[in-house]
């Protein structure tokens, strides 16, 4: 696949508290591109990692507005311009009749574009990613700092991970 996995340092933690503390610390140390890997959503992780609000809702909104207006254009052009049909004596351009199509296209455009944006934002599809530790999908937690992060220094990071109480520290790809 096109996704290139980055080499870096990973630390394994045993508890939720430890990983939250570690994420806080790593953020404080000035790392920007690190990731926390947990088997389930951990409360407070967004703040701990300093994750900003997602930009996907804006995509959904803009594409929704676009879908709505294109629905209007489509129905107007087909029923009032290109092939006007007299339906029950109603005006060719009858907004109430167009609203269902405008509504459906709003939903279609914003839903599909948010899924597409989600795939883009998360770098999906990630087929067969490198496994840092097999227990990360079950009951262990990890922090991964890629090599291209600001201030990357293996010795310093190892010391920090040890001080945070990591149960294992290793070089890994993610």
């Amino acid at each position: 696949m096109a996704t290139i996995y980055k080499p870096g340092m990973a630390a394994i933690f045993e508890t939720e508290e430890a990983i939250l503390k570690a994420a806080h610390k790593v953020k404080e140390m000035g790392f920007k591109k690190f990731d926390a890997i947990t088997p389930y959503p951990v409360h407070g992780m967004e703040e701990a990692c300093g994750i900003q609000r997602s930009w996907i809702p804006y995509v959904a909104f803009v594409m929704g507005v676009f879908g709505c207006s294109s629905g209007w254009l489509l129905t107007w052009w087909t029923s009032a311009v290109n092939w006007p049909l007299n339906i029950g004596g109603k005006p060719f351009h009858s907004l109430p009749a167009f609203i269902p199509i405008m509504f459906e296209l709003t939903i279609l455009f914003s839903a599909l574009s948010s899924v597409a944006a989600l795939f883009y934002a998360c770098g999906l599809p990630r087929v067969n990613p490198p496994i840092i530790h097999p227990d990360l999908t079950c009951h262990k937690f990890a922090i991964f700092i890629p090599r291209d992060d600001v201030g990357y220094d293996e010795g310093k990071i190892e010391g920090m991970f040890q001080a945070l109480g990591a149960s294992a520290i290793k070089r890994a790809e993610f």
Binding site: G44, R53, P96, I99
Partner: protein
């Protein structure tokens, strides 16, 4: 856990300010004066304004019980700390019984089918006499009013009992009562709306009418609930038990049901507009005439488009003053909605609004406020011994 929540929980006994007490009693006094003046001077206006105000506030009270019931049925954890607010809204329910009985005095003024002379000459109404007759209506109103009183007593009563006993079984029992209430409510409220509002124009019918009324009921009840939640927070009665995260979630609910209302309102309109059958279109023709067209359009803009866009951003649902404005707007528009359902049937082509409408609204709002004040004075504002309260205390909305 994450430590993102303040651990200082603070709950005071609620004591309404003297100003609020005076205001609600003044409202009731103005309402009673309005009622008496109307009885002597203008019965037609009195009963239409009475019906609108009575139905409007009944919706808020019943909506409180409906919200409580869905939380119980869903075994929701996040809402346990705010459930008492919606339970407080049900304190109005006994008044529904009294209000229905008083309404019976105005039946002849309001409903064409209650007048034998009108029915006799109209085969379309004659065909509906088996359902639309005073005797059966009284039975239906009584079943509805007593039923909601019964379920309200059970569901809210169990919750209040838990405050002193802490018995977890009460929570389990409430699941069953709440399922019963939702079934009873969905049927009886539809018929209640058909009886009180749709039958004002007995030749007209819309099969979606009950849901239309329900959507307005739930939208306005959520708006009212948010206002009480913010009020209790601002008064310093509750601190920590519910946070802006809970308000945010109820505001999401409010936005969802703003869309739901528009969806149902449009479904009703579009099918009637498209099919163009005279016995269905008469309803909209009355509301497209003269001054009523402006009211009809105001519903579209102020009950849907503006609240929808204004509640869309995340920040809007977490900003207390912005949310207050939106909730008040929705509550005003819910009144306009019911007014719009009732008045064009009586005043073709011209809008009337004045002393009677305002005084009747104040009467019921005053009663609603004072029953709620009594409820919260007597009971704790948070269901402190609910077994799921700890879930609500750590409730956190992630983006």
């Amino acid at each position: 856990m994450a430590g993102t929540h303040s651990t200082n929980l603070h709950l005071e006994k609620y004591e309404p300010s003297q100003r609020l007490k005076t205001a609600s009693y003044a409202f009731i006094a103005i309402g009673v004066i309005g009622f008496l003046v109307g009885l002597l001077k203008n019965q037609d206006r009195l009963w239409t304004s009475y019906l609108v105000a009575f139905y409007y506030v009944t919706c808020l009270g019943v909506g409180g019980l409906f919200f409580t019931a869905i939380q119980n049925v869903a075994k929701a954890g996040w809402s346990t700390s705010i459930r008492r607010i919606s339970e407080g809204m049900t304190s109005f329910l006994p008044v529904v019984l009294v209000g229905s009985v008083v309404l019976l005095a105005g039946l002849k003024k309001l409903y064409p089918w209650a007048n034998a002379e009108v029915v006799a000459g109209n085969p379309m109404i004659e065909a509906k006499v088996a359902y639309l007759n005073v005797g059966f209506l009284v039975v239906r109103l009584l079943i509805f009013a007593l039923g909601m009183l019964f379920f309200g007593k059970k569901i809210v009563g169990n919750s209040l009992k838990q405050d002193s006993t802490g018995d977890e079984n009460l929570t389990h029992k409430n699941v069953g009562w709440s399922i019963g209430w939702i079934l009873f409510f969905s049927l009886s409220f539809s018929l209640f709306s058909v009886d009180l509002l749709m039958s004002l124009l007995p030749t007209w019918y819309s099969t979606i009418f009950g849901i239309y009324c329900f959507s307005g009921l739930f939208q306005s009840s959520l708006a009212f609930m948010i206002l009480i939640m913010l009020y209790m927070k601002r008064q310093g009665v509750v601190q920590g038990y519910y946070t802006i995260d809970h308000v945010h979630d109820v505001a999401k609910y409010l936005k969802a049901f703003t869309v739901f209302w528009a969806y149902i309102a449009f479904s009703q309109f579009m099918l009637i507009w498209y099919a163009n059958i005279p016995e269905e279109t008469e309803f909209y023709l009355l509301r497209a005439d003269g001054g009523w067209m402006a009211i009809s359009m105001s519903l579209l803009f102020f009950k849907f488009i503006i609240p929808f866009l204004a509640l869309l951003p995340r920040g809007a649902k977490r900003n207390e003053s912005h949310l207050t404005v939106m909730c008040v707007l929705i509550l005003v528009m819910q009144y306009v909605d019911i007014y719009w359902l009732v008045y064009p049937n009586f005043y073709e082509g011209h809008v009337v609004f004045g002393f009677y409408e305002i005084s009747m609204l104040l009467l019921f709002l005053g009663i609603f406020l004072s029953t709620m004040m009594k409820f919260f004075q007597k009971n704790s504002v948070v269901a402190l011994k609910d077994p799921r309260l700890h879930e609500a205390l750590t409730h956190h909305v992630t983006y």
